[in-house]
Symmetry: C2
């Protein structure tokens, strides 16, 4: 039988798909590198050609999810005739809707990276997702600055500052993730909504906008994202 | 000879002192856990009773340095008759002076945590230092809010947001650290000063102050911190 030579990127994608399936079926902690190799029908050497560790795979999955989301948001970035604030709010609104649609996948990932002791993994994934998001954010800020709607001292620096700021919600997200299946779930989700609202006000101010200009959250968002739908 | 029983905290301090000396003499990377044990005259079990790893030791050292600095800044926090903005600027000014005075120790630590690949260690140390700093920051913000000088939606949330923001200068600091001994050292230090100025403006806005109210940096600060003094 002739050996089928696959493109390295195709191999990498197969490993990622196998890992994603396994992380969902068994959970991240219970999945081993050997499980991923077996599922993808690949050699150990093949795996380590692409990834140094299971954590590397998770980081690549997070980056891939961020790229897929950004592709779905591209139409809003390219839509002509939107001023920068309208564009930013449309972008954030659609991003929230995407997150709620992908809630099971996001919860599975959050369950891993927001566990106590996994702060390091959280920062790796946060940096990977941030790198994907930065150009889109810088583009919207540059538009707002040109239009005189935003007022920032430096577009690139402010885009980087805003991305860093995302990590300030870490503890509130962690509490909501870890309380999701408990009696405190609703309260933790409401506290996260409130914390995201504070985050929105910080963004308003950094961009030189009146408080409340950016709609960073709506009530019930954290609950829709974090808590599995209840039977009616 | 009677065995001298030392208090566990005293043992821990001896390990930290030995580690600090060795990190300075040989560098962090070149120092092993065995070196630290030998220098402190302690057993392996004694070491692992206090620390899980060499990284743990570095985190504890960073926390100890932060505590020592904060103790030196306590007088400014307690000084009666200062309004919150004056107190904050005095606090930041004295903190910068302390950093420049401790520049060799800080450079040695920065050299480790701002190396590419050590982002994880950076975030651990940043979190440890942040936890030491948070109460002082929240106290100043609460004072400013009471005085009507600051205008924030929530004291505790804003204190946490501001601490998180510190990480947004990571890349600029890393560039300055890694360029310090090169021809690009001065330019990288100047770029860091500028980036710290942006950071100060973000803080002004989050606290509801006019741009430039908080003196977060003075020109030449990054150079004084990062670049070993030249012979005159």
């Amino acid at each position: 039988m002739p050996r089928i030579v696959k493109h390295p990127q195709e191999r990498r994608k197969e490993l990622l798909d196998a890992a994603r399936d396994l992380f969902f079926e068994r959970g991240y902690e219970a999945t081993t590198v050997n499980d991923i190799i077996a599922r993808a029908g690949m050699s150990k050497g093949g795996f380590y050609h692409h990834f140094a560790s299971k954590e590397d795979v998770l980081e690549a999955l997070a980056e891939a999810m961020a790229r897929e989301s950004l592709a779905q948001l591209q139409a809003i970035l390219d839509e002509p005739g939107l001023d920068a604030l309208t564009r930013l709010n449309a972008f954030l609104s659609r991003a929230r809707r995407l997150k709620v649609e992908q809630a099971p996948a996001i919860r599975a990932m959050f369950y891993v990276i927001f566990r106590p002791g996994n702060l390091v993994l959280y920062h790796r994934l946060n940096a990977a997702v941030g790198a994907v998001t930065l150009p889109a954010l810088a583009r919207i800020i540059a538009q707002g600055q040109e239009e005189g709607i935003f007022d920032v001292p430096d577009v690139q620096a402010v885009a980087e500052i805003i991305l860093t700021l995302g990590a300030s919600t870490h503890d509130a997200v962690a509490r909501a993730v870890n309380a999701a299946d408990t009696l405190e779930g609703e309260a933790a989700a409401a506290a996260l909504d409130e914390r995201l609202r504070m985050h929105g006000i910080a963004l308003d101010r950094i961009l030189g906008l009146p408080d409340g200009s950016i709609r960073f959250v709506e009530n019930g968002f954290a609950k829709a994202l974090m808590m599995p739908a209840q039977a009616p």
